[in-house]
Each structure stands twice: as C-alpha cells, then as structure tokens.
Symmetry: C2
C-alpha cells in the first residue's frame, strides 16, 4: 500500500469525496440539509454509523449559527471538546468557547453534594448572561442536568449538541433531551464523544 | 427508558462491566495482556471494532510506562489529544505532555515548505532532550514524518501510539509504522482519533 501524494490543503477535500463515494456505494441516503454535519462526524471518526443515527430538531442549525453570529457562548462538558472546536471564527464574532469542568468551585460543590462535576458545571453555565449552545461529548449527567434545569425554568439554552458516549445512562439521557423540547442535534445510541461534539459545532460554523 | 441511579464514582466501573459482558456475549476474544487498553478504547468511543483491530508490539506497554516513570515526554499531534491525556500522574513523575501544532515557528516552516503543520511539529519533537512517546490521533502525515525521521536516524522514539483517523493515507501510514521497527500500538484501519490516542496513554498510566 502506497502513500498517496496529496497536498496538505487537499487532504480534507479528498476525505469528504471518499466519504460521499462510500455513502453512495453503500446506498445510505442521508438528509441533504445536514449532509455537511453528518459527513464531518464521519470524517472525525471514520465511523459510518453516524450516517444512520443523527437526530436534528427543526431549525436547530440556524439557532446555533445565530448564537455564534450574536457573539454568544458555546459551553462544553470537557476540555477535549473545547480544544476541538475551532475558536477563530467564534471569537471573531465576539463569542467564546467555555468549559467549567476544571473549575475549583465546581469540584468543591460536586464533592460536597455527591454530584458529578459535569452536572455542577452545567449549573454554573445557567448563570451566564448571553445566549448559550451546549456541546456535550462525554457526560450523560451533563445532558440530564441541562434537561432538569430547563424543566425547572433555570436554564434556557438556544440549542444543545447532545453527543455523550458510553454505556451508563447515555441512551436514556439522549432520549430525555430529544423529548425535552430543547432544540438539539443528537447522534442516537451509545456513540458520540468530544470529537463528535466538536465536529458538529465546527460543521455549523464552516457552513455559515 | 429510565435513568439508572449510578453514583458518579461507579459510572466508569459499571461501564467497564458492560463492555466486558458485551465482549463475552458476542464471543470476541481479546488479548488479556492488553484488555485494559482495548476496553478503554471501547469506553471512549462505544465502538467494539477496537476489540478486533488493535496491534501491539512486544513489550510496548512497558516502554511507554518507563518513559512516564523516567519523567519523559508524551508528544501529541493535536491539542485535543493533549487535553484528553490525564496529566496529573505524568507531571508527578516529572514528565510533560507536549503539542507543537499551534507553535508559530511550526506554522511558518509548514507554509514555506508546503508541508503539513503535523509533519513539521514532529521534526520539532526530534529536538527534545528526553525520551519521547508519541501519541498521534489525527494526522497520518505525523506518523509518516516519524517513520521518515526514524529511518534517517534523526528521531528515536521509545514508542508510538499510531491512531490517526480518516480516509487519506491513514491505513498506509499505520502499515508503515507497524513495519518500521518502532515499538507501537496501532488501531489498524481507518478508525482512531485524538480520543483514542489519549485513551491508550491513559490506560497505560492507570495500569502502572
């Protein structure tokens, strides 16, 4: 197997061509309105399951784009997701990508109350003074916190990318989010991850 | 579907139990010596393909553990992988987790020479004065750079986690690494990612 000679700038383009070809060959029909988001999830994972599992609330992409354009906040549950989101454009619009998981006050309150730090970091995000989009790639407890705080009227996110990964409460937390009435993008099932959450936010901003 | 009431501290334990049960049910037989690494890759991705694709050079885990114990460097190709590696223990041993991808000198040289920043950031790592383990989760060009610099006698990594993801040169770069003689851990095929590279390093350090 030979190394192909592809120019750095062309690698991403060529990757998306291969993804499109593979989808066509395997007969998987994706929603064209969201093709750029679905393909970017496949691009970041090489996992074609994302062609079959993605849920999109009506109008969710425009809501996320509006928050970015209005200089709002993207709040993640992990530093990995925060790292993976391209911040240049978001900061150029006046916005920020925030993550509270490592904050001392979050750790203290979590230990004291027997909650996960993910949960408490969402409570902290409820105090922000600008429109917020959440990008959750790790902790189902973060999604559960968002849904509970929303239910109690304490948090009103513009949209949530609900992409935690794993085996305990992940599927249930995603179902809870989808049925909550919050505008969301969700890779249903156990799969997801910080890379997937970041890829979804990046796909939206690259499409603006 | 109900939210299970699992204590924060028990979520990871319960996840690994579900992974073990699923492997047993599906009859996938993994190498027991590396079960902790394979299971952590599945834990971070919910993707059981990692039970079938992982390659381990003889003695590679001990080599990575030695670098950590000796206060050496872990060098990643992305900030996401750097973020995902648990740094507490590594720093307690006197080591560091480094990533040069965002460095200005790297960007300048890459633009000037028509190389990827990933490639140039590996050249920069060749100048480090301590034992190095690479954790590559994104760029096949980083793996190719490592193999070329090794071939030319300019770089001698103790071990490489070769987990780039994608569609252009990823499979070929992994084959190149496996046949290079460098001690390595590789999820063969197109899959991998910054989360997988970080999970592998974390699995090794949690087993020390």
């Amino acid at each position: 197997m030979k190394i192909e000679n592809v120019k750095p700038a062309d690698i991403e383009k060529r990757s998306f061509e291969i993804i499109a070809e593979t989808l066509e060959e395997t007969g998987i029909d994706i929603d064209e309105r969201y093709a750029h988001i679905i393909k970017r999830c496949i691009h970041t994972s090489a996992d074609f399951d994302y062609a079959r599992t993605m849920f999109f609330s009506e109008g969710v992409e425009e809501k996320i784009a509006s928050v970015i354009r209005d200089g709002g906040y993207i709040v993640t549950d992990t530093r990995m997701a925060q790292s993976g989101i391209n911040k240049k454009r978001i900061e150029a619009w006046g916005g920020k990508v925030l993550c509270f998981i490592g904050d001392e006050d979050v750790a203290e309150r979590a230990a004291k109350e027997g909650l996960t730090r993910s949960y408490v970091s969402m409570e902290k995000a409820a105090e922000l003074d600008r429109p917020v989009v959440f990008a959750i790639g790790n902790a189902p407890t973060a999604l559960i916190a968002i849904c509970q705080l929303f239910e109690e009227g304490k948090l009103k996110p513009e949209a949530v990318v609900g992409a935690p990964v794993g085996f305990v409460n992940v599927v249930a937390a995603k179902k809870l989010l989808i049925s909550s009435g919050i505008s969301c993008i969700v890779p249903r099932g156990r799969k997801g991850g910080s890379n997937i959450a970041a890829a979804i936010i990046n796909a939206v901003q690259y499409n603006m």
